[in-house]
């Protein structure tokens, strides 16, 4: 029988909140309510994960971790209910397992509430990250000076919700960037049961472009698929209402005046990185597919590296893998059950 992948203990003392792979899938970071981050290295010979280091990272539960693109070095970002973002860099001069292997480069404060999600922008946009927290504010930071990753500048602060949710109410927030380098910058932010796409206007400011329709509950997870040559984008959400939804986002560069307008728009995009026309007016959103086969809340959705397979995890204790048929209908092609037989 083929070598089976073995479960392994992380050593966290509380439940894990997040798990992230690095760009090449050779490193894995976990974070937990125990306020620690642990990083594991993949042993390519045995396919086993070896502890690289573990350290106390925050003063409250660490809820998300994210690796930056590899050209910026071994950079890891973490967020916590303690309202801070921390940027870490692997120090190869330090021993693995010493607790000092990951050096804190920066601590970014500013959120008025517990942070829920963090995501690095695709690398062609530079070293940029977005955060969203219970104050309902999307914050975007840039490491403007590449020689100094200790210095992060808040370049945008947008209130996604008119009023932050009451502290006693269940809430969830998430965000994802459009990974495409061939279309203008976009970031999708989910706050409670609403999902907003932010685009840049002609003044290079982030503005709300479009909303994803249909959600009837907290949006638990969102994932933007790599475009891989497609002329449209695919976005998936996992919702408390039990649905996995797949949206198709099409951008039209062509205005009513035909080619001339297109050229103008392209020129504007080339010059400003944004279109001249009304932000979001060139975006059409279509619901491609909805599935409630998890028979309960959907906790996580994620596209694979080519945007051809969507995976979703839900309350039925399964991960479902969805794939489009040749007629572009998404079907569940496989189910991975986490439940013992």
């Amino acid at each position: 029988m083929k070598e089976s992948l073995k479960p392994f203990a992380t050593g966290h003392e509380e439940l894990i909140h997040d798990l992230a792979y690095d760009f090449y899938g050779r490193q894995l970071a976990t974070c937990s309510s125990d306020q620690h981050i642990k990083v594991f290295d993949l042993d390519p010979n045995t396919s086993e994960w070896i502890l690289n280091d573990s350290w106390k990272a925050h003063d409250s539960s660490v809820v998300k971790v994210a690796f930056a693109a590899p050209e910026f070095g071994h950079i890891l970002a973490s967020i916590s209910y303690d309202r801070s973002v921390k940027i870490w860099e692997e120090d190869f001069d330090e021993q693995a397992g010493s607790g000092r292997r990951w050096k804190r480069l920066a601590t970014i404060s500013g959120s008025q509430g517990a942070l829920y999600d963090i995501a690095f922008a695709p690398s062609h946009l530079g070293l940029r990250l977005g955060t969203i927290g219970s104050d309902g504010v999307l914050r975007i930071y840039d490491a403007l000076e590449p020689s100094n990753l200790r210095n992060w500048t808040l370049i945008s602060e947008l209130s996604v919700l008119a009023v932050p949710p009451a502290a006693n109410l269940q809430s969830d927030f998430s965000l994802t960037w459009s990974p495409s380098r061939f279309s203008p910058e976009k970031v999708l932010v989910c706050a409670l049961d609403q999902a907003f796409i932010y685009v840049k206007d002609k003044n290079d400011r982030y503005v709300m472009g479009k909303m994803l329709p249909e959600h009837n509950g907290l949006i638990r997870s969102v994932s933007w698929a790599p475009t891989m040559g497609r002329s449209y984008h695919l976005i998936a959400t996992g919702c408390k209402d039990g649905y996995v939804r797949i949206f198709k986002l099409t951008e039209s560069l062509k205005g009513d005046d035909g080619l001339e307008d297109t050229v103008k728009e392209l020129d504007a995009f080339a010059t400003n990185g944004a279109y001249d026309s009304e932000p979001g007016s060139d975006i059409q959103i279509e619901t491609l597919s909805t599935h409630n086969d998890h028979d309960g809340e959907v906790w996580k959705v994620s596209w694979n590296v080519t945007g051809t397979i969507l995976s979703s995890a839900g309350d039925d204790g399964t991960i479902r893998l969805w794939k489009a048929s040749y007629s572009n209908k998404y079907q569940c092609m496989s189910v991975i059950s986490a439940q013992q037989k």
Binding site: P7, H124, P146, N148, R150, V305, T306, R320, I336
Partner: protein, 766 residues
Amino acid sequence: MTLEFGHSSTVSSSNKYLEPEDEELSDIEIPDEYEDEMEYDSNTNAPIIRLKDGPIASGEGRIPISKNGISLKFALSPMDNRGAVYLSSIDGEKPENINTHIYPFQVPGSVNSEAYNRYSEDCFKNFEDILKNKKYKSMSSDLEVGVPSLLKEMKRTKAETLDRHLISLITDLQRLIVTTLDADEVDESEARGFETAITVLNLFRSLNFSRREERIGLLCNWVNRADLLPFEELENEFLSESDGFSNILFWSSLVQRLVMRGLFDEAVTVIGNSGYETLESSDPNLFLFISDFCTLLSSYDSVGFAIDQDAFLEWKQSMCQLRDKFGKIESDPKYQYFGVARQLEILLAIASGSPGVIRENTRAWYEALVAHYLFVLPDPTVIQEFFREYKTQIYSDPTSFTWEAACINLLEGNILSVISELEPQEKCTATYLSVLCEAGGLFEEYLELLGDGNNAYNKRFLENTDSMLKNLALSYFSTQKLIPVGIGILWKMNEPDARQIIAEILPRWYCANTDEFEYCLAICSELRLSATSAQLYKQQGQILKDEGWLLESLNMFSLSGDIGITARKSWELFESALVLGTKVNDRSLEQLIDNPSIEVHPVLRQCISPYAVLAQFYDLKNQGEIELAIGKLVSLIRFPYMQQHCTPLLLAQFVPFLGYSSKGNQSEVLRRVFSPEQLIIIIELLNGFDEKMHQKEPFLETVIEKSRELFEIAVSQRAIERALSNPSDWRTQARKLNITVPRDVKSLITLLRKSIAMEEGHLFLQ
């Protein structure tokens, strides 16, 4: 026994030769490696794969896991089709039971083995020529106008080419099956996919592309590969006694099946081993019939008969004559060998091509089909006739895709259906099979049926093979080692969106060596992907840096054209050398500094120049050229673009030089080196830095914070201990001079000021 076609279970398709009523055979152990219990999801009918020792305890039916205060989450690895599952909390709540394990998984349907990667590479190499610019499309239709002999020759060449590709595909797949089974690195569903694929390919080859003279042999091979007859085991079972020939089951269950599957040599051998020679004296008549039957079987010319029907009919006539002659034998049930004679009569009838007898005595439709082809008439038309006649009796479960279902579809000409059903099981083989079909013009019939090629459905159909190839390429992008194969497919096909896809996927490739990296750069250059190549340079720079190739790494960063990142990495090198108190150990870097004629990117030379000066300072200091060394140090501190957070550590280098005066020590190495002018410069430098330390600008605050961090790292106990091995390190020298190494920047400034004051005092007194 009557003919029951395709009596297979829905999932397991092995061991069809064992009938429930074959009681005498039922205790023979047949390996059932593919027998497993597949579970299917009740909502979607998708197959369920359970995680080994999964995190959720078994229970009845589906349990909403949130009832236990937990949620199920996962992450997908960007590479090698893997992921990891874990249990998490719901909205920060703390459940009773805490499970902090991670459960890695392999994405179902993805094969991740060295052997499979090699198979994928071999397939691509094999088909590279007909993928180029979608040559398989232009090959599909044959020229109809031209010199007939040339047209015929072209058709023959095309068939030979396609057959050659098909043979390679079969050979590679066979090798894959053997390798993966030997290495035990394949699971049941994968093995089933491979077996189905090889069976489909074998039948496909016998029906298409193969030369006519090969067809009989190929059909026999197909059946015997798909449903292996363990004749040696059966032979041992039936021939355990010396007069094995008298066992009726020997004839009905072994010889008959060997004959119907075209295994004539094996049939003659087992008959020879049955001890029937004893009949020569006891029943010479029967002996002679058996001998004649064996002779005729041995003379079956599967190559010749496929092309020469007259020769076949002549052989068949001989068999009929033997049958007729045999019919005159004693038919008295009291005859000692009545049972054997009866079986021999059936065998003769089968070999004479009696459809009724074949039908009555076969156990599976494919055996019957081959027997028809062998003995009724070895002509392709027989296949159609066979299906017309027996269609209703061939049972195949429409809900499952087994090799039998695939082969029935193939024999009925439903190639597209076979390909589309094979694809989920064995994507690579199915895709290349589609390429062969398209190139061989086997989809022409579908096109004729579809007529208008303009509507969306038909267009999609026309692009089916293209889509499959593209999907195959995309599926390879989830496996590191197959990324070049995926790129190769898109590149060869010359797909319009290939450039964009390649631009997105190339950076995902972890280039393990220079060849791979140069291959990536060549692609970028060919497709004019300048932004991608810049990204690749930066990524490769980081990989080389992690591996300790400093100069090579810096060179990559500079070639990316990103001056900022080159500068950052160069300053990191500078900082590292400053903290270490010595040059970094890199021979290439040293050569570059020592030899200005070595050609490197000008940006790189400029960016590492501060490091070069620092390295020269260390060299001069080691050589005892203190004055020159001090000159280098001063020029470094005064360098207008010096990273200001490095200044304290640069200033710290003065500590041992000023130590002579401050402690009144006399050292061979350390002697008074400062002129009054130099002391003034140091004072100015100190003042400048001190002033900045007291400013409240946000930028300077960061600089001060950074300088504090860097200095504290440099004077940490570990760093001091590490520096002990270097006698010319400022910390080691300070300790030698009984100077306490300052613990922070403020103490350093104080120490320097005091030392300078002492030095000035000495100068004044002199």
